[in-house]
């Protein structure tokens, strides 16, 4: 059914269609409409899950972990401060190999207080062992939530699906909401290999020795590596069934592109417009939008960027004292495989400031004019003198 939905409501539909049995949540701007929508359905008796209206995100995550260990499909949603409050338990969840799906609405971290889009909240959870998807529109939000359950339950690792504050969470777009019956065929009920079960008692998450711990860590890493292939297979199957698939990366007009923009989320959808305009002018530009951030699709990136002469990265996030996280990760993926392509790191759109088609055009201009990539991220694209061009 085609509906006119905000990104938050699209994500909520995705969650409901996946038939989670326990949902635990706590309100925070700009995630609250997801929580409210789920509660509304709960009130109407159509949700099908037990809603836990817990007293904090920390408890929401704790409840999702233990509920998942008890054998049920679980879902939660949060943003920024809430995700940060969950941090300790995010490690726990991946360590316990529970396939929780979490929607995080990207929001800048305090202080000072701010409510707008920035990716630093979810990127700070990079090393917690969760898969991370960054989506570019509302349809992709819904589809990715459903895919996430299947991928997570296959590799037994949890997934964060990241929606940007307001640009996605509160924007309305036409969204195709799939038929429940078709989703049920795509996503069978969750059957964990082990669970807390009085007929088969076992102890979970005990103290382990150094070498046992190392083994658990490596296994988690291997599951992440497996997730790369599983995510592709699931996306392909989804495309076959529903006519929509996204890949791990979106490669846009890469054929013969000399200067390639690498970015994530809604900056990617804006960039398509700029690239179309620049192509009209005869400029050889293209884009790679990173959809799956963890596990990081290194081989795919190397393949996609193999023929680029210059790479410009736009990050809506910043690791203070270093640079944008996508840029840093990209460089590490390219290093020693593709030599000599300068990578220009731009940090734009912090705190939810707008990154317009004109900004993106400017980024291409700068990357094309500059020869050597500066060591520091480029945060000001207006001051050409400072950039030495």
């Amino acid at each position: 059914m085609r509906m006119f939905l905000t990104g938050n409501h699209a994500a909520a539909y995705g969650a409901r269609l996946a038939r989670p049995q326990v949902i635990a949540a706590y309100p925070i701007t700009p995630q609250s409409p997801i929580y409210e929508k789920l509660s509304e359905w709960d009130g109407q008796g159509v949700l099908g899950a037990r809603m836990m209206r817990v007293e904090s995100e920390h408890s929401a995550m704790a409840a999702c972990i233990s509920a998942s260990l008890t054998g049920v499909r679980t879902f939660t949603a949060t943003a920024s401060q809430g995700l940060a409050l969950m941090h300790e338990l995010l490690h726990f969840a991946s360590g316990m190999r529970v396939p929780i799906v979490l929607v995080n609405v990207n929001r800048s971290m305090a202080g000072p207080w701010s409510f707008w889009s920035e990716q630093t909240d979810s990127l700070s959870q990079r090393d917690t062992g969760w898969l991370q998807f960054y989506v570019a529109d509302n349809q992709e939000a819904l589809d990715t939530v459903i895919q996430a359950f299947k991928i997570s339950e296959t590799v037994l690792l949890p997934t964060i699906v990241v929606l940007e504050a307001f640009y996605i969470s509160h924007f309305m777009e036409p969204v195709e909401v799939p038929d429940q019956r078709l989703i049920d065929e795509f996503l069978p009920p969750f059957e964990p290999p082990f669970k807390l079960d009085t007929d088969n008692p076992a102890s979970f998450c005990q103290v382990v020795s150094q070498s046992q711990y190392a083994e658990f860590r490596i296994q988690r890493h291997m599951a992440m590596e497996d997730a790369l292939e599983v995510a592709e297979v699931v996306d392909r199957e989804y495309r076959e069934r529903f006519g929509r698939g996204y890949g791990l990366l979106e490669c846009y007009r890469l054929e013969d592109a000399d200067t390639v923009l690498v970015t994530a989320a809604t900056i990617g959808s804006t960039a398509r417009v700029t690239i179309d305009a620049l192509r009209e002018e005869g400029r050889k530009v293209g884009m790679v939008r990173i959809r799956l951030f963890r596990p990081f699709p290194k081989a795919k990136l190397i393949e996609a960027l193999n023929h680029a002469k210059k790479i410009a990265v736009i990050d809506r996030n910043l690791s203070p004292g270093q640079e944008g996280v996508f840029c840093e990760e990209l460089k590490s993926a390219l290093y020693s495989r593709i030599n000599g392509i300068p990578v220009f790191g731009f940090v734009l759109g912090l705190g939810g400031t707008n990154v317009s088609p004109l900004h993106i055009r400017k980024v291409f201009d700068i990357a094309e004019k500059m020869n050597d990539a500066p060591l520091k991220p480029i945060v000001n694209i207006e001051d050409e003198d400072a950039l030495g061009i």
Binding site: S66, S68, S203
Partner: protein, 293 residues
Amino acid sequence: MPSEYDTRDNLYPGHMACAGCGEVLGLKLVLQAVERKAISVVVPSCLGIMLGPFPHATFKIPVFHGAFETAASSAAGISNALLAQGDDETAVIALAGDGGTTDIGFQALSGAADRNENIIYCCFDNEAYMNTGIQSSSSTPQLAWTATTPLGKPLKKKNMVEIMGAHEVPYCASACACFPDDLRRKVTEARKIRGMKYIHVLSPCPTGWRYPESLTANIGRLAVETKYYPLYEIRNGQEYTITHQPKNLPVGDYLLAQGRFKHLVQRDLDTIQEQVDKNWDELTKRESRNRSE
């Protein structure tokens, strides 16, 4: 008197608690009373040691060793997952220390009580953070020595039973590992009630309280018989029932038997005695109030 409980050990041997540990005694009794159709949550504490290192196990019921501050939220997650699967028979029992309950896990506990989650929460109160050494918690009694209160704790002990009673949970009780039948009966009682149940189990700790390990049973009994730690129940935040009439021994009998109180002088004992008598009066008043209603 033969016990009505299945006294077969429901912990496998090898729990690794200190000799004379009151906490492991309490754990054993609680697990006996909760029986086999139960799923437990343990959080970091001496209990986390008792459940054994991987791949060994001491618990005969399923157990999840969760994050420190999540005893109540983890138990609530399990309870909801069971209900989602149509199982309202299996008991879910959270097992935590006093630090994990009265300090870091308090928010999650209060939240679970507020939502009236269908769990039994047992706080094993050894009156300090023992697993990490012997550091003061908000459940450490006034004037007690710990490694972080070398001069004796200046502040009073948090009264968790009253706090949980004030949440108007269906069932809330104080118990002690050294009153086995009373403790087990309370767990059995809790198992019959739907909603949130809270049981506070005073658990004498020879290592932290500084007394010879052979004295655990005496110490726990003295805590109760001096009225220092009364045994009672609160139903729905209103109905008080004292479950053991203390012998009214002087508090010094209890306190001076422990190294952590050895610096106390007569004036301290008098002040504490006065406080204990006042608390007892208040408790008996509350009990008679619901009788007269």
